[in-house]
């Protein structure tokens, strides 16, 4: 098994004074394609913020065996001000601003890199558009381009499948499967009904974290994990279903609705 890129060891974290994650251990390895699932408010975004170094844990340790800049990040769409006066070109360029490094790069070089990456995600003709004029799919492509332009070793995506049509979603997963040859991928989704068949493992986050080393989860395992999630994949793959289950720390009243 390959060396871990990022390692979380017994990490607990809180947000606005409330414990959101407790005793979470997880390793991200170079060829990972991990689906992170769990209910809203279960701590998925907090987990990402910890890995990105945007949030400090209350206890436990996070070890990065890669540079902080080696993690690419695609935040939730709701995070942006869509009226902000910025063009697609500049959004993607911000992905290259490691440290203050852009100040030292030649204009012709970063222009070429932005144009190349825009071609690869299929929005080459939109580079001068303000983001306010993009469709949901075009915005996600732009944000994906920004996340991968610096060739990160780990790519973290927070709900990349919101506000996009089904056609783009399938294309997104194909692009990600291709990227996965060069980088580890962590993809968060609350809408696990459509999570990709390309994922190789599943992390179920609901205050605690349960890691499933395959994308198949048996009924027996579910009984132990207690994650109130239904997982169904579409397309030419065998359907997998995770029935309602419960985390240890959850009160028994919240299930069985």
């Amino acid at each position: 098994m390959s060396e871990a890129l990022v390692k979380l060891d017994k990490v607990s974290a809180s947000y606005s004074g409330k414990t959101v994650l407790s005793d979470v251990s997880l390793e991200i390895r170079p060829d990972d394609f991990m689906g992170v699932i769990g209910p809203n408010g279960g701590g998925k975004t907090t987990l990402l913020r910890l890995i990105l170094g945007l949030l400090k844990p209350d206890s436990g340790t996070i070890t990065r065996y890669i540079g902080k800049n080696d993690i690419g990040y695609l935040p939730q769409v709701s995070h942006f001000d869509e009226h902000f006066p910025i063009t697609v070109y500049n959004v993607v360029l911000s992905g290259l601003s490691e440290g203050m490094g852009l100040q030292r790069m030649k204009k012709s070089e970063y222009r070429r890199r932005v144009e190349d990456i825009l071609v690869s995600v299929g929005v080459a003709d939109l580079q001068h558009r303000p983001i306010g004029e993009l469709s949901g799919g075009e915005l996600q492509r732009t944000m994906l381009a920004r996340a991968i332009i610096a060739s990160p070793k780990v790519l973290i995506l927070d709900e990349p499948n919101t506000y996009v049509d089904n056609r783009f979603e399938q294309e997104l997963y194909r692009i990600l499967a291709e990227l996965n040859k060069q980088m580890a991928i962590m993809l968060v989704s609350h809408d696990v009904g459509t999570i990709s068949p390309w994922i190789k493992s599943i992390a179920c986050v609901n205050r605690s974290l349960h890691f499933h080393p395959s994308n198949q989860i048996s009924n027996e395992q579910l009984k132990v994990y207690n994650c109130p999630i239904e997982l169904v994949t579409h397309g030419p793959v065998p359907h997998r279903v995770i029935q309602d289950h419960q985390h240890d720390n959850e009160s028994s009243t919240s299930m069985n609705q």
């Binding site: 800049n69 935040p75 959004v91 601003s97 920004r146």
Partner: protein, 278 residues
């Protein structure tokens, strides 16, 4: 008297220079404020500075110095407490806003005698700008122009998505504090031109006018400066010929420019309708 003849007067040359310097600093700083939706914060900083004016009157200090100190305290406190999430941002701004005004009013009341320049602090007076004011404006404008030229992209990236900028290792806090300090100082120096009550419009109307035609941050920066300067000049001349207050006339000109620009845009759009964006 013709336009050129006006330049023989020192007060008019000073006013012209002040209009230019103010257009540059307000044009650049205002673009940041508008893009980041910090207009209300800027209003809070502006009005808080009145507390400094009042205290300076009472102790006989230079009012601009007191205003600058109060504006900086308000700016840094807002930035700091908002980040700590100790209080809701808009409530905090309202407190700063009214507390500054309250302190100002109390100290001016306590100051014996009539305060002749008080009105110029509330409503501005570009005609009475002194060489000292100009020197300070020049220094600030140079700093603002330099910062926005060198760090243009960094400012843009941090403003658009602070969290992502942090993942790229950009010193986000440093950028935020540096900019809020420039915002506070720009506001204080612009009070000479438009006054506490009106200064906010110098930081927002040119930007919104430019934004009618472009959503490119860099172009809004440049066009805000140009539009601000045109508006200031129209206001300056109009106020001279009609003998009405300069600050208010400049604001009025800026609003007229905005409305004209809106009209022009509607005309352009109706002639070449843009293809619908999917």
């Amino acid at each position: 008297m013709d336009l050129i003849g006006l330049f023989e007067y020192e007060f008019f040359r000073n006013a012209f220079s002040a209009a230019f310097l103010m257009s540059v600093s307000c044009g650049l700083v205002g673009t940041y404020i508008v893009a980041r939706r910090m207009v209300f914060i800027s209003g809070g900083i502006t009005h808080a500075s009145f507390g400094g004016v009042g205290i300076s009157y009472y102790f006989g200090w230079a009012p601009m110095g007191g205003a600058a100190v109060f504006a900086l305290i308000a700016a840094i406190t807002t930035e700091h407490l908002t980040r700590k999430k100790l209080i809701r941002n808009d409530s905090l701004i309202a407190v700063m806003w009214s507390l500054g005004m309250a302190i100002g009013i109390i100290f001016i009341y306590l100051t014996p005698g009539y305060s002749p320049n008080l009105m110029s602090f509330l409503f501005g007076s570009i005609i009475t700008v002194t060489l000292t004011d100009l020197a300070l404006m020049l220094a600030l404008t140079l700093v603002v122009a330099l910062v926005f030229t060198i760090f243009y992209r960094i400012i843009l990236f941090v403003s658009f998505d602070e969290q992502f900028a942090r993942t790229r290792g950009i010193p986000v806090m440093l950028v935020n504090y540096m900019l809020i300090i420039l915002v506070a100082l720009t506001i204080v120096l612009s009070i000479r031109v438009a006054g506490i009550i009106l200064v906010l419009s110098l930081l927002t109307i040119p930007q919104n006018t430019a934004n009618l035609f472009t959503s490119n941050f860099g172009r809004i920066l440049v066009w805000s400066v140009i539009i601000g300067f045109i508006g200031a000049l129209i206001g300056l001349f109009t106020s001279y010929y009609l003998n009405i207050p300069s600050g208010a006339t400049i604001i009025f000109s800026l609003v007229i420019l905005y409305l004209v620009a809106r009209g022009v845009r509607t005309l352009i759009r109706s002639r070449n309708p843009e293809p619908a964006i999917q």
